[in-house]
């Protein structure tokens, strides 16, 4: 059997006395969408942070595309094909939407020790950026300063920046956080279009979103993965229902 694209073994991160992720094991196959769910404080964002390289784990290994990337810093992991979006929108507010995405393209288009040609005149940066903006539905907003975009649009821009790095694995940290019902619906459609073409690890609170997108679900509680499986199995799992889903799923 082929090695999974992402294989996490025994991943542990402590903040003082708190064990934020406790011996987490995960596997994600190429092309699969894995949703990680769990109550607030379960360690989901800490997990994403360790996968993207922003946080250094205290123990455990992360293998990506057949190589151990545990010790690699975030920019190197991005170069290897890991891309993340942030739960709290993280963009370049003074730059236009197109500039934001063009930066992500630039990061993967050779080095940037170029001092003479205006970056805005480089078609090799602008055209893929424009195409990616179109893909997430922000084509008409290309020239708007990113900081003045609506919240939902900024969330779409987050996705566009991740996509523009041409990743092999997308780490999405609560992509519909703080969105209204309409915006949320549009985001689900966008993410659904990415399924199959991209391998995705999705951290999300909204169960409708999770069940609409996930091929498999892992449930985290207090830093540990207490269950993993197909959506139907998770829905039926008694321990999961007790720990997390509670009354949300009618019997």
């Amino acid at each position: 059997m082929a090695e999974p694209l992402l294989a996490v073994r025994g991943l542990t991160k402590r903040f003082g006395g708190l064990v934020a992720t406790d011996r987490v094991d995960l596997e994600v196959a190429d092309g699969e969408t894995l949703a990680v769910i769990g109550p607030n404080g379960a360690g989901k964002t800490t997990l994403i942070g360790q996968l993207s390289g922003d946080l250094v784990p205290d123990a455990g290994t992360i293998r990506f595309a057949g190589e151990d990337v545990t010790a690699l810093p975030a920019p190197t992991r991005s170069q290897r094909g890991l891309a993340r979006s942030f739960q709290i929108t993280s963009i370049f507010p003074e730059f236009t939407a197109l500039d934001n995405v063009a930066l992500a393209v630039q990061a993967h288009a050779g080095h940037s020790f170029r001092f003479w040609t205006p970056a805005r005149a480089e078609r090799a940066l602008r055209e893929p950026a424009r195409a990616t903006l179109e893909q997430v539905g922000l084509g008409a907003r290309a020239a708007v300063a990113a900081g003045t975009l609506a919240h939902g649009e900024q969330r779409q821009l987050e996705i566009a920046m991740a996509l523009a790095t041409r990743p092999r694995l997308l780490l999405l940290d609560e992509p519909v956080a703080g969105m209204g019902a309409d915006e949320s619906q549009r985001m689900v459609q966008l993410l659904r279009a990415l399924r199959g073409h991209h391998t995705i690890v999705l951290v999300e609170h909204d169960m409708d979103v999770v069940f609409a997108l996930a091929d498999r679900i892992s449930v985290m509680v207090y830093g540990r993965v207490i269950a993993s499986g197909a959506p139907e199995a998770i829905r039926a799992n008694a321990e999961v229902r007790r720990a997390y889903l509670g009354e949300e799923i009618p019997a």
Partner: protein, 314 residues
Amino acid sequence: MRSARALTLLAGFLVLGLVPVVAALANQPFYLDLFRRIMIFAIAAVSLDLILGFGGMVSFGHAAYLGIGAYAVAIPAFYGIHSGLVQWPLALALSGLAALAIGAVSLRTSGVSFIMITLAFAQMLYYLGISINAWGADDGMRLARRSQFGGVVDLANAYVFYYVVFGVLVALLWLGHRLIHARFGVVIRAAKSNEPRMRAIGFATFRYKLAAFVIAGAGGGLAGALLTNQTEYLTPSYMHWTRSGDIMVMVILGGMGTLYGPVLGAVAFLLLEDILSAWTVHWQVVLGPLLVLVVLYARRGLYGLLPGAGARDG
């Protein structure tokens, strides 16, 4: 609005370019001296703004590079090497190297630590300067001759020297304009805006910030080489922390993160000093409140008050 800005800039360059004519007509060679000094500090301020305004690296030690550039002219001159073709490249190289070493350490910190560590390095160099007796210690030393360029360019001629400095300033602004809009400039500006995001999309930001730090240091070194030629004197006080503060004030006054603002800041700062110090030695009593007003009400400094300066690219 773009054309209004272009006209304003053109007018500014014309004024600087015509100072020698006015000075000659009015028979006031002092103006030549004053504006040459202003432009030399403008070169230092423009180079500081590359990291301070565009890169968000608050270096409080820019005078260190000014001093290294000055020593790179004065020490060879002391040993009889007067060629500017030796001295000036040496000034660029040594100040750039110093910036590489200082940046490699300092850029591992951020915020207040970064400010303090850059200040500490500059003060170390200052105390080194005042302790080397062979090179004048805290008295400094006289520069026997200005840098020589094989008789082609004679800096002893005040007009020639003026236009050399003017040319250096214009060239620096042109290079700066290209740089901040090129890939490199976009990276350092974006790293100022949101560094974690930069790392997440795949930029190893440290090397770009360090390169910017080196370029800024070399710019400061060039200003220092010009400054010893201007004063025909070398003193370690070029490296004193108050000098770093002066250059920083010029940047803030003129407009951080704008290309031409630091030039305006240098003009305003040194003209104020010149005019007010004739009245009182406590001329900074006026500068202080002015700086407060600019910081509070003019977001992009004096540059932001110019007609047509609304465009964000400065």
